[in-house]
Amino acid sequence: MKRREFLRWAVLAPAAGAGLAACADQQSHARAVYLLVDTSGTYVQEVGKVQQVINYLLGTLNPGDSLAVARVKSRSFTEKDIVAKATFVKDPIQANAQKRAFKEQVAPLMQGGKTGSAYTDITGGILQAAEFLNETGAGRKTILIFSDMQEELDKKTVRDVPLHLNGIRVVALNVTKLNTDNADPRRYLSRLEWWEKRVRDAGAADWRMINNLEHLDRVLQA
């Protein structure tokens, strides 16, 4: 009888463990970050600074998180502009190896060309970013836009499309002032206001701007 009881417990205990595992939290706690790097002519000289942002992200993101880095060019709604992307595996040691490989993948972006693209398709980049982030199924999604936020489109490019940024945080990084902004700061402020309104209207969870790269720790703060 006692042996039978022991056997019953031996069967029930793993079953209870499996039951607990089945109760796993369905809400994802993973983070996904999509970094858009402006490589247009007005901003190309700033691209060197993006290394700091990527290093910070690689050092901060955990196993299970996703990261992608893409260029913003004349037309950016394409996967071809994604320089590197990775979802870090659950094993922390393998995740470290992935991060090293990621760093090597994005290295050419920093070297870049002296001349940037003629136009700046930030909207296309955001559309691409939202698509990528939603596919990851991460719980916390963030788009980082390393740009002066001055969008310039050629005549054939249509970007008058509604954005869907539900649950996505948008952070503008290193938003430099243009010469025209220097002459009339209202242009700069109105540009930022326009983007904030557009992003919030698209359902974004948050809009934030960080110009001082010393405060990168605020990038992933909720």
Partner: protein
Amino acid sequence: MSWMIWPENPALSALTLFLIAIPFLYAARAPIHGVVESLAAALSNALRLGARSLLAMARELRSRNRLVLLAQGREETAQTVEREFQRVTALVERDLNGYPALQRQLLENITRLEEDYKKAGEVPPPPPEWVKAVESMGKIKNGGDGLVEKLLKDISSSIGTVYDKVLAEYRRSCDERHGILKRFIPFGRSLNETLTRVDRNITGLQASAARIDAQMDNYEQIRAGADRVEHLLYSSAVTQFFTSGLVLAIAFGGAFVNFWLIARPMSAMVGGGQYIVGDLEASHIAALVIILLEATMGLFLMESLRITHLFPRVQNMNDRMRRRLLWAAFTFLLVLAGVEVALAVMRDYIVAADIALKQGLGNVPVAAGKTDWVMKIPVAGQMLLGFILPFALAFVVIPLEYFLHAARNVCGALLVVLIRAVAVVLRILSNAVRHLGMALVMLFDAVIFLPLIAERAIRSRRSGERKDALPPRGAVSGKAGSTS
């Protein structure tokens, strides 16, 4: 529609309305008094009833607490007495079982001592009779007779030889006796040691008997339910509660260190970034499960060793089963300790890889981790900690048992105090409600004071008229007295 008769003068409107309302209020005085008084009485009685039932509950709880406390005290004393009896039994079995042999040894020693003593007392046989003859001959005077002289010389030389022999024999005999006396010493020492041991055992038995007596007195007092014992047991329970609580807090500190030692490497085993409930990572829960498993195995180990008595079924197991459980728990604990050692090594490996990556990334502002302090412990130290902490955690069960037992008494006593405090508050509220009712009645009367004054005046006038109409009291009594 406004309530104001004169909208431009609210005060006058209010006064007018008040004056209009006064007759109605006066008319409704008795029912309003009744409503207020009955409501206040109902509420006050309910509160008083509640207070009374709470006090009864507190009394009941206190008596139950007392029963539990005395039962615990009785059990503890019984265990102490039992332990003392076991000690005495062991002492008796160990020593008194050997008493026949001891007695035999003592008797043998004493017999040998007596024999040796007798031997030592034996003196050489007295000188033979011819010595007397020689003495008589020695008295013969040497008168210059050559024959006598020669005879005496011969006798003297013969006696000298014999004397030497006798003296040698005497010395040999003395030596023998000294030898016998020398052999006394070890027997005497052995005898002394044996008697000292006996004395020690007897003293130990007396001490145990005194302890048993004291515990039995205590037991008797507990059985009699003496107040002094109750107070002693309460103070002992409170002391135990705080002492075991302190030890448990220290043990939780150890468990905390253990947790952070294994939480990070666990992410390599169960996967990082996976969440089970809320913000609890799967790796953290896995680490917690390991620590809880260690504590559970420790509990079974202590139960099997009969150090703690939390599970009566384990206590009632036969020795064979109990020994099996003991070895099973110990093996699990050993395996878990081994797992922790492996995790400590893996942890160091992960941390090293992480540091290497961050150094490779350049000047990355690294967020201050929760476990940075653990990095300062060398890997050997981490391994040692990983091995020792599970076994240290096993001992947590001992203070836990004390804590649970003491907590029952302390929490019970606190509950009694709390219930009494609530009862007092209810009693105060009951009185307050009763007085509030009275105050409301008086306030109502104060509001309608004008008709009340009028009523009082009319009543006093009527009573005055009635008094006038009635004959004087003395006359009535005098009349009554004369009638009687």
